[in-house]
């Protein structure tokens, strides 16, 4: 038992690793700040395209979304990071993460926005258009707000998944929180720094997970 505490909950080692891990936390937050808005924007575009009345637009977009839902994010990231330099495109770990996350997130957010847009009755758009709003205005002011409200739990849930996925960036040596914690782990031969990082992830994500459960229960009744 003591050996366990020594290996996983060593406060001395945690204190020493704290500055390194916090440094990584800022990078994690920076990644989130870049990839979440990008993914949502891409997802909205994907959703609109996949609901297009034109088959030539709709089908390729559904194929795009399904393709990126079928491929594991880590495979995509390594493909972008390790594969593209072979084709003469040298990219930084951060760019690789941004590109891979953009493709993956657009697919997932796209499915959510699609469900949201479908959940708003067509009468809403027709009524909005009949009052003289343009198609863009009716989307932005009438349909989209209702769509987002209907799928808010899924949007939050997917955003939690995105924050968790940023830990994959450690595999391409981007110095985010898990990478920094693992660095400290390899120097100290002790897992406590990663437990510290886990604690920080929990502090950020636990409230979100609770919120999602509340939503799910409210929806259910």
């Amino acid at each position: 038992m003591e050996k366990f505490a020594e290996q996983f909950l060593n406060l001395e080692i945690m204190a020493a690793a704290w500055p390194t891990v916090v440094q990584g936390l800022w990078v994690t937050l920076l990644i989130c700040l870049v990839v979440i808005p990008m993914g949502m924007a891409g997802g909205l575009l994907a959703a609109l395209a996949s609901l297009s009345p034109r088959r030539a637009v709709r089908w390729p977009m559904i194929a795009f979304v399904d393709f990126f839902r079928a491929i594991p994010p880590l495979v995509l990231l390594i493909f972008v990071y390790a594969g593209l330099p072979f084709a003469g495109l040298d990219i930084s770990p951060f760019t690789a993460v941004a590109v891979a996350f953009f493709l993956n997130n657009s697919a997932y957010y796209g499915e959510i926005f699609r469900a949201g847009l479908l959940s708003v009755g067509t009468g809403q758009a027709e009524a909005a258009r009949s009052t003289g709003l343009t198609a863009g205005q009716s989307l932005a002011h009438v349909v989209l707000p209702q769509a987002v409200r209907n799928v808010l739990p899924d949007l939050i849930s997917n955003t939690v998944e995105v924050v968790k996925l940023t830990s994959l960036a450690s595999v391409v040596s981007l110095g985010e929180m898990l990478h920094q914690a693992d660095l400290a782990r390899s120097v100290t031969y002790n897992a406590s720094p990663i437990v510290l990082a886990a604690g920080i992830y929990l502090a950020i994500l636990w409230p979100c997970v609770r919120l999602i459960s509340r939503f799910e229960r409210r929806m259910a009744t």
Binding site: G83, F86, T166
Partner: protein, 227 residues
């Protein structure tokens, strides 16, 4: 070499593909084996926990909620690294395959428990009462009347979650599980060519695409008809 030739040589090099295809095929079996094991045991464990929670024993329910919250909030890679690198120093030696299997099973169980529990609570109270009034015991009412209705509601989200988590078997490559991605990155560094990565990506898409299409179908099949 023209740019097109160079591109083909880099990503679709026939010699490299032929040489490393057997290794990647071996990886496919490891990925499939892990995925099947994780889906079966994760959903079984999650279902068991959701049922235990239905008895509303306060201490048990509290423990289940804490378990489900932690395993839903933590990134899988964090859990994998803690267990894989931490346990040996504490005197417990597990293979990377077992670590990956155990962690992903627990994560899937946590999500499955929440999804099934949401399903159980959404079954109308009258269903419980009607079942009990016909003489069924609590456990019988749960298993024969409530759970089947809960499962029906849970199938689309459960399918999506199971796909997302089996895709994470690729994380095993970080701790040396010889799955598709691991075989491909090894082959890529030996051959100095990106074709093995392309082959791995194709293998994953072939493996998971049917399930993604299935989940799309399930969603439309089980969706609440809007009025």
């Amino acid at each position: 070499m023209t740019p097109l030739e160079r591109f083909l040589d880099t990503f679709f090099n026939a010699a490299v593909l032929a040489k490393y295809a057997p290794a990647i095929l071996q990886g496919v079996w490891v990925t499939v084996e892990l995925s099947v094991l994780i889906v079966l045991s994760g959903i079984a464990l999650g279902g068991l926990l959701a049922c235990v929670r239905a008895y509303r024993v306060r201490l048990l329910s509290f423990g289940i909620v804490i378990f489900a919250d932690i395993f839903r909030a933590l990134p899988p890679l964090v859990l994998i690294l803690i267990v894989y690198f931490g346990l040996p120093n504490a005197g417990i030696f597990l293979s990377s395959f077992v670590v990956l299997y155990a962690i992903l099973t627990l994560i899937l169980a946590a999500f499955a428990e929440e999804i099934l529990w949401a399903g159980i609570t959404s079954v109308a109270k009258g269903q419980w009462e009607a079942a009990r009034s016909t003489g069924l015991g609590f456990t019988q009412a749960l298993l024969w009347v409530v759970l089947p209705q809960a499962v029906r509601l849970a199938i689309p989200p459960l399918t999506n979650r199971a796909i997302a988590i089996t895709k994470m078997t690729a994380l095993g490559t970080v701790i040396g599980v010889p799955d598709i991605l691991n075989q491909a990155t090894t082959a890529q560094s030996f051959s100095g060519n990106a074709s093995p990565l392309m082959l791995a990506a194709v293998a994953y898409v072939l493996l998971f695409m049917p399930f993604v299409v299935l989940s799309r179908w399930l969603e439309s099949r089980f969706a609440w008809r809007k009025v």
